[in-house]
């Protein structure tokens, strides 16, 4: 089993790009190695974006694959603090 691949999230993770991110993240998980989601570049995040991240995490648990979130940007940190959620 090779190391999880790195996935760089776009600057915008909102309802506009949520569908696109969902497809791409699911495709990444599809190769069976897990994923490292790089959140350092996220400048815009809404509930839809948050839901995609949580879906990815849940899917990782379901498929027993490692899913890791790294380097959350200030925007991501703020949203997580607001909702008292952890990724």
């Amino acid at each position: 089993m090779t190391a999880p691949r790195r996935f760089v999230v776009d600057e915008e993770l909102t309802i506009v790009t949520a569908a696109d991110h969902r497809e791409r993240l699911l495709a990444f998980l599809g190769d069976g190695n897990g994923v490292r989601v790089d959140l350092s570049g996220v400048a815009d995040l809404d509930t839809a974006g948050l839901q995609v991240l949580m879906m990815t995490r849940n899917e990782g648990v379901r498929l027993n694959l490692p899913v890791e979130f790294t380097e959350p940007s200030p925007v991501v940190t703020e949203a997580l603090a607001l909702t008292r959620l952890e990724l």
């Binding site: 509930t47 839809a48 948050l50 379901r62 607001l82």
Partner: protein, 718 residues
């Protein structure tokens, strides 16, 4: 200040007296407005204020003394001819009488000091009188200082936010609501509920699946928190409830509130419920009544069920409401009676004692004297009863005259010109009844002013006198008192009522209804129109409530209307609630009492086929009800049955019974709570032989029967 019993008693008398004085003050002021020159009226008004001040001083009620002192000073200037009576002056003084009256009711409720709101109110009113005072001479008693407004305390709230699935697509981001909430106060806790988030394959990335539970501590009122969610309310489920730790605060606040018998108002004032939530709850209540046709579910239950307020707070408000009602029923503990009537009663009792003792004397003069003495005792007992009952009777005029003020105020508010004509004010009825009918009457009066009488312009166009007339008339009629509220306004619009009833599904489209059936629809629950609710500010109080109140007093209500000419609403009430003249009838082993004033005649049931429930009465068809059948009395009918013919709102119906047992003065004993929903029976009484007889409530009995008949006939036979 603690009150001992003597003091309490004296205070009760003061309260009774003060109420009369305040009413005299108000009536006098209204009269002065009409006829500014009335010297005697000016004197009377001045004296009322003066006496009020003096008596308040005796009890050390400083706030009342200070307030009435200023009013008295102004009236003093009027009496001395220094000040002219103007509508402005009357408008400034009338709210003062309201204020005095509110303080007196506060006393009756056991509060010897005004609360902060009342004190502020008083200060404002006195400021309004300032222009009428001669150079500050009045303020010797010292100005009433209003309590400074304390900043509202911080409250803890629990918000449960279920956003609609589409809210993201509509451009609403729950995260921004959370952010905004933290600007309103301190968010002490958030739980994000992720349970609804589906598996990746089923997830629509543009739907919202998250819900939030937020704990917020803020000084902002509930309405402000509610307003945050204005844009998402449509398709989301937003619940804002006081946090559990705050229950005590609300319960305490509700206990400290001034008297109010509307639970809705209590809850809204306490801040636990907003107007919007109350409106929604009322809508749900109405909807259920219309849909299920049951008695309305208490509004408190709906609020709890909808998760708007916790049970603890509703219970506190209910207790408050009950306490108010108790204070009010205590009010009737002291009543003023005419000394002559009391003397007459005592005379009668004296005669009774003499008559009683003469029955005990051995009948040396022959057997006749004993029965004669017995007859005399019977006659006296009857007279004593009459006389005792008349002690509770008060003329209805006092209540009716109160509406002069209402008419004046409502007309000013609506910009209409209406004169009030009161007739038959000396008709008497039971004091308890007078008190309980005044709210329904108030509603009818406001309704007439608001919807009945047209604005001056419209009246001129139709060639009517510019000034509308509202008539209140009272008279006795066959053991009842009848009160009429009549206006010369536009009348009811038959077509509009019918259209509305069809729209509200009260009537099936295409049904043929008589005029009176159509007009009676306005008393149906769920009929009151939206505009009625807002204009009359009577939350949930519509014509249906008026009707329910009247029915609860064993009365009836009817409408008479002519398009463009006016509407008359007629309330018919029994004179007293305590005793009725009854007609005793027997069905098998059971006895029933029919109120005698409903009975028109008795005839023997003619032989005929058993299944047919009508008979020929002097050429007219008379439908009848077999009591044996309707109450499920076992056994075979007597060989010869009788029909008691009763009349209700012009409709005659027969009641088939086994035997006629004669007239009986009946002391009504209410049925217990257990039977409170039983229709057709209004109470019970105990007969001389110890048996119980049920008192029939003729109105619902006949109405219920015609409903059943209609249903039966609607089902195709065979």
């Amino acid at each position: 200040m603690a009150l001992d019993d003597d003091m309490r008693e004296a205070l009760d008398m003061f309260i009774t007296e003060a109420r009369d004085l305040v009413q005299g003050l108000e009536e006098g002021l209204l009269e002065l407005e009409d006829q500014p020159g009335g010297g005697e009226t000016v004197n009377a008004v001045f004296r009322a204020a003066h006496t009020l001040k003096g008596s308040s001083g005796l009890f050390g009620l400083q706030h009342l003394v200070e307030f009435t002192h200023v009013v008295e000073t102004v009236l003093g200037s009027v009496r001395d001819g220094v000040l002219d009576v103007t509508p402005g002056l009357v408008s400034a003084l009338l709210p003062c009488t309201d204020h005095i009256s509110a303080m007196i009711e506060g006393l009756a409720g056991g509060r010897l000091e005004p609360d902060a709101a009342q004190a502020a109110d008083g200060a404002r009113l006195l400021a309004g009188l300032e222009p009428y005072l001669a150079d500050g001479s009045a303020m010797t008693a010292g100005p009433v200082v209003a309590a400074p407004d304390a900043p509202p305390p911080e409250m803890a709230w629990r918000l449960v936010l279920h956003f609609g699935e589409d809210c993201l697509r509509n451009g609403m981001d729950p995260l921004s609501f959370l952010r905004y909430l933290s600007t309103l106060g301190t968010v002490t806790g958030v739980v994000t509920v992720t349970d609804r988030l589906p598996e990746a394959a089923d997830m629509d990335p543009e739907s919202c699946y998250l819900s939030f539970e937020v704990d917020l501590v803020t000084a902002a009122p509930k309405t402000e928190i509610e307003a945050v969610f204005d844009f998402v309310r449509e398709d989301s489920d937003i619940r804002i409830t006081p946090a559990e730790s705050q229950f005590d605060t609300y319960v305490r606040a509700i206990r400290a509130m001034p008297e109010n018998d509307r639970i809705g108002d209590v809850l809204i004032t306490s801040g636990a419920v907003t107007e919007l939530e109350m409106a929604e709850a009322l809508r749900i209540q109405q909807e259920r009544v219309v849909r299920e046709g049951n008695q309305p579910v208490p509004i408190g239950e709906i609020l709890i069920e909808q998760g708007i307020v916790p049970r603890a707070i509703v219970d506190a408000a209910l207790t408050r409401q009950r306490r108010t009602t108790e204070t009010r029923s205590q009010d009737t503990r002291t009543i003023r009676i005419d000394a002559a009537r009391l003397d007459k009663l005592i005379d009668l009792v004296g005669e009774l004692v003499i008559a009683q003792s003469s029955t005990g004397i051995p009948n040396s003069a022959g057997p006749d004297t004993s029965s004669e003495a017995q007859g005399e005792v019977m006659r006296l007992v009857d007279e004593v009863r009459h006389s005792a009952l008349s002690l509770r009777m008060v003329p209805i005029g006092t209540t009716l005259r109160r509406f002069e003020r209402v008419v004046r105020d409502v007309c000013m508010e609506l910009g209409k010109e209406v004169s009030l004509v009161i007739t038959g004010g000396d008709a008497e009825m039971d004091k308890a009844l007078v008190e309980r009918i005044s709210d329904p009457l108030l509603h009818l009066v406001r309704n007439s002013l608001d919807h009945g009488i047209e604005p001056a312009g419209e009246r001129r166009k139709h060639g009517k006198a510019q000034q509308g007339t509202l008539r209140l008339n009272a008279y006795h009629d066959a053991g009842n008192i009848v009160i009429e509220v009549a206006d010369d306004g536009r009348g009811l619009d038959r077509e509009r009522i019918l259209a509305k009833a069809i729209e509200r599904e009260l009537v099936a489209p295409g049904t043929t209804l008589t005029d009176s059936e159509v007009y009676n629809l306005i008393f149906e629950p769920g009929f009151s129109t939206a505009e009625t609710v807002s204009n009359l500010s009577g939350r949930g109080v519509g014509m249906d409530v008026v009707k329910r109140n009247v029915t609860a007093l064993r009365g009836s209500i009817e409408v008479e209307t002519a398009r463009g000419i006016g509407t008359t609403i007629r309330i018919r009430l029994p004179l007293t609630l305590a005793i009725i003249d009854g007609f005793l009838v027997g069905v098998g082993p059971s006895s029933f009492i029919v109120p005698l004033d409903r009975v028109t005649e008795c005839v023997e049931l003619p032989p005929g086929p058993l299944g047919r429930d009508c008979m020929n009465l002097r050429g007219e068809v008379l439908p009848f009800i077999r009591l044996r059948q309707i109450f499920g009395v076992p056994g075979q009918p007597a060989r010869r049955q009788n029909v008691v013919i009763v009349e209700q709102s012009g409709q005659r119906t027969g009641l088939v019974v086994d035997s006629l047992l004669g007239e009986l003065q009946t002391v009504i004993k209410p049925l217990g709570i257990l039977f409170s929903r039983v229709k057709c029976i209004s109470g019970s009484t105990i007969l001389g032989n110890g048996e119980i007889a049920l008192i029939l409530d003729v109105g619902p009995l006949i109405a219920g029967h015609s409903d059943r008949e209609q249903t039966r006939q609607a089902v195709p036979v065979g």
